[in-house]
Subunit: 309 residues, 2 copies
DNA sequence: CGGGGGCGATAGGAATAGCCAATCGCGTCC
DNA sequence: GGACGCGATTGGCTATTCCTATCGCCCCCG
């Protein structure tokens, strides 16, 4: 048995296709087929069920694939640890960012990271929190920027900054004249929300105290991205809550939107950097956290220096 | 990089000696040396520090050894899972037993296990709880019989039986005439205890409400085994608490000891089978638990059928 | 119904990696 | 100062792994 064989098994299990798996592993298809077959013979267990068209993991093979994955991940961590022990700040960092942070943070982050982490290019992945966290656990990401409570278990987090929510309205909205507003001023039936899965949607619902809002026209208006949402607001379909960093870009852009700060210190979200607890390159992640904290614009306030669960 | 190489690394780290490690891995010493050297070159990290006499893991190597261990364990689990998926009850079970249970349970257990688990010979290891639990976590044991609260974390447990403590005295002790006794009847300064580390010692102290007894002659009498302890009691040095199953052997043996049951339903210990949560051969462990519950003599009462944390 | 294409298995030969026995170099200990 | 213990080195063999080319199978489509 060989680590490479296990890599083959994981790859076939993931892709469900010997040919594509072999390409992913940079070997020929016969090689991969042969090694899988050899392993199945060694173990006396058929891991995959091939019936001409599709490849599936057998019931008995599932446990084997799981253990193979563990072994492969451990080996990958070992290599990462070796590189990290030479220079933790050397080598790419795969960073996930949630969709309501990514577009606004990235322009500040990239130059700062290029300066602070010259040998660690950032490979950015933008997705929902619920997609990023599994990728972290599987070792497919080194760290992720999220805005929900830090998940406990095998993940750890560093607080980055607190970001206020502002009320975004069309220019002709009555609220747009105000210097500031309160949550209570918002008409829930007029509140536009992001699609399911975005933490910003849940936070807006939570702030407005309506876990099951879902009435009126807004129910049909679940924007797939914050940009779309703000376009809807500008077009007069309603109002929404936007994170502070999204305000600047839009407020300036031709005045099609108005941004009104909200009163109350709880009208914020805390943005955190999360990573796997036994990540080999902790030093790189910590440096990245420092970089983000330093690079974030003054409109968001850095969180207390350290806070990990 | 190869799983075998990682096995070599783990072995050298554990044994601190290339020659012994090579023997443990069933390869020649030059082979092992060569592979370790090759791996260190590949990784660009010196994992071991050799200075003629001793071999130590370097600071930078520690993380690498840890990851290597993870990978090796995962691979071992994979093989175990493969065998288990053919027949979970096939293959040896490495069973740890605490010292105050082992000598008395084993005679009942072995025949029953040979009947219920004919293809799973038991490899018994007798040691202190604090030694058995790490062995479980490291995958060097499949299960262990302990008598303390089930450790949470990555271990799981099945309740086996509740075992009463009896008061053991010399024949000429005043208490030996009684049909039963209470804890309060025991003179703490007269109580003999096992050496540190035995859970029975802690439980006896706990029951007698004296976490820091340690006075009088008994302070110098910390027996290394329950057998030694009972010999001391028979020789008139004091009294002790013994688990119920230890009573039978001694009470019969020539009347050199008296056993007095203790009143109160809390004067018991619960004996459990613990095992790693992601153990591949759960079915074998569960069958082993059933076997032990069935084989335990009537003097101990089987715990409620199922209880896992 | 019969050819084309996609997919995994098979065959044979070449490159590579791992292994062993023998030996070396270096320290330590008697 | 010689014997010994330990890890590193060398040279040659073997087993594994890999590749290209090809086969057999099944599905699809004309």
């Amino acid at each position: 048995m060989n680590l490479r064989d296990l890599q083959y098994v994981v790859s076939v299990a993931d892709l469900g296709h010997f040919g594509r798996a072999s390409a992913a592993c940079n070997v020929s298809q016969p090689t991969l087929s042969g090694q899988i077959l050899k392993l199945e013979n060694e173990l006396g267990v058929q891991v995959f069920e091939r019936d001409g068209r599709t490849v599936r993991v057998t019931e008995r093979g599932a446990a084997i694939v799981a253990h193979a994955r563990r072994a492969v991940n451990a080996a990958a961590d070992l290599i990462a640890a070796a590189r990290a022990s030479r220079d933790p700040l050397d080598g790419p960092i795969r960073l996930g960012v949630i969709a309501t942070v990514g577009p606004y943070l990235t322009p500040y982050l990239l130059p700062a990271a290029a300066r602070d982490l010259p040998k660690a290019p950032l490979l950015l992945v933008e997705d929902l929190t619920s997609h990023l966290l599994p990728l972290l656990s599987e070792g497919k990401l080194d760290a992720a920027v999220i805005a929900t409570d830090p998940p406990s278990d095998r993940l750890e987090s560093i607080d980055l900054y607190d970001e206020a929510f502002w009320l975004m309205t069309a220019p002709d909205d009555p609220l747009s004249r105000r210097k500031s507003a309160r949550i209570a001023d918002i008409d829930p039936t007029n509140l536009l929300l992001l699609a399911d899965g975005h933490c910003l949607r849940d936070q807006a619902l939570d702030l407005c105290g309506q876990p099951n809002l879902g009435g009126g026209a807004s129910a049909d208006m679940r924007a797939a991205s914050l940009e779309t949402l703000l376009h809807l607001v500008a077009a007069g379909f309603g109002v929404t809550l936007a994170p502070r960093m999204a305000v600047d870009t839009w407020d300036v852009n031709g005045g099609r939107l108005r941004a009104v700060p909200l009163e109350g210190k709880d009208v914020t979200r805390r943005v955190r950097l999360v990573f796997r607890r036994d990540m080999p390159r902790r030093a790189a992640v910590e440096e990245l956290a420092r970089t983000i904290r330093g690079a974030a614009p003054p409109c968001v306030s850095a969180s207390p220096p350290q806070a990990t669960p």
